[in-house]
Symmetry: C2
Subunit: 249 residues, 2 copies
DNA sequence: TTGAGAAGTGAACAAGTGTTTACCAAGATG
DNA sequence: CATCTTGGTAAACACTTGTTCACTTCTCAA
């Protein structure tokens, strides 16, 4: 809570009584969190964020995002239902804001992984480990992605699909730079990138709840994801071009 | 409607007036569908099926299964809400029945595809084409699978996951019989089967709505699925065993 | 033929929902 | 200082939801 410190030093210069009061107020601010002594814009954005977080939490232990009601969200935040409309016109709008936010944490995860040269087979292990750790750290965000990519509100679904396509395009460009895959054609890159991204997306639920879909004798979800990516990349390495093959059919 | 014929021949022997009436009644039965002249068990099962179909339809152009209300379903079928409880104790129970039904049409699709020797690379094209046609023919069923595999009711989700695991186990056994893949270990089969099944599952929405997530310049969803499976199987063919590789990390 | 049982009815119940309206207190601005 | 702006309040609105209960029919079997 550096804001309280800032307010404290700002207003406490001069009269010692004011200083004392400001100190107490700052403590109170620290205690109450966000309710007191905030400039309006800050406070508004904080309520907005609280709404987003509440929706995420309610969705996590519920029936999915479209089953979360406007009133539930406001109740969790501690404001009256009508106040919701000061921030979003709709629950769909909140959902879209959520997609935007979640997609940025996903991007951060990718940025972390990119340091480990995806092209090299040996790096898959480290990359998957990093990614899996990030997923459990932000499990609500990735749970939202996994659940709402198909089911639920059409607007949210399309937004997630668009985000997914962005990732595929990025990865496509990335794969095209790899010398190991220089024998592939442009369409091959697209299909390969799509396969990798969708494989990662389908593994999200298992990475989040390792226990839910457990066969006790099988490898951990992260290990399985590693192997899957290896299968795919080995296939890409030995890919001889689809033209010759489809002509043969 | 062979039932009407059956009833006609059963009751119309003797008096010609009765025969004439029975004929009209049989015609009426054919016209009204299921409302008239049905023995109880048959009629009950028909209402039950109507409830299942209604739920499927409402979910298809809506927010997913968990957003379909009990009252909506009964309204669509044309019965009163209370009558729902004569067939299912719950909407969740209806969902589970739906999973069972849908999973059997999925099994039928697999049965059709199995005739085309999945092991051989050349057969992928034909197999995918058959599967894709089956998917559009039963689009509501596969839409249900695609949407509810993650989001929505926990019971339905777990049922679909269990079904998916059955498919994976089956395919695992199938792959183990292929001479082309005899160099793989038992864990490899599991991972490979999981990768194939999940790849097919993720492609379902695109196979159903080929327009929705369209990049105009890219290949058709069915073609993409073909190529993805080729990537995977080529990777499996050149797989040298994970032990050596993971030890190297 | 009569009586049990079950599918479907109709009305009522308490909750919960999204949205609107007038209002208030307090930060921002002149 | 006064004034506008704005995040939040309180109450009401018209609905929809799941569930219950006593009821009517009508089948099926004894």
């Amino acid at each position: 809570m550096q804001l309280s410190q800032q307010l404290f030093t700002k207003y406490s210069t001069g009269c010692p009584k004011v200083a004392a009061f400001c100190y107490i107020a700052a403590q109170l601010h620290d205690y109450l969190g966000y309710m007191t002594l905030l400039i309006r814009a800050e406070k508004k954005q904080q309520t907005r964020q609280a709404l987003l977080d509440a929706a995420l939490t309610l969705m996590a232990d519920g029936q999915g995002f479209s089953a979360v009601s406007l009133r539930e969200v406001t109740r969790q935040v501690g404001i009256v239902p009508a106040a919701f409309y000061r921030h979003f016109p709709d629950m769909d709008a909140l959902g879209l804001a959520l997609v935007e936010q979640v997609s940025s944490t996903f991007r951060e995860a990718i940025r972390l992984v990119r340091r480990n040269e995806l092209e090299q087979y040996g790096a898959i292990h480290a990359s998957v480990r990093i990614f899996a750790e990030y997923v459990v750290a932000y499990r609500q965000h990735f749970l939202f992605l996994a659940r709402e990519q198909y089911g639920g509100s059409a607007a949210v679904r399309q937004a997630i699909n668009a985000m997914q396509r962005d990732f595929i395009t990025d990865l496509e460009a990335d794969l095209a730079l790899s010398p190991r895959l220089s024998h592939l054609g442009p369409e091959d890159y697209e299909v390969l990138a799509s396969l990798v991204v969708k494989t990662v997306f389908t593994t999200l639920p298992e990475l989040i709840n390792p226990h839910e879909s457990d066969q006790p004798d099988s490898r951990s979800p992260a290990h399985q994801l590693e192997d899957k990516l290896r299968f795919i990349l080995i296939g890409a390495k030995h890919w001889r071009g689809i033209k010759a093959r489809t002509d043969g059919d």
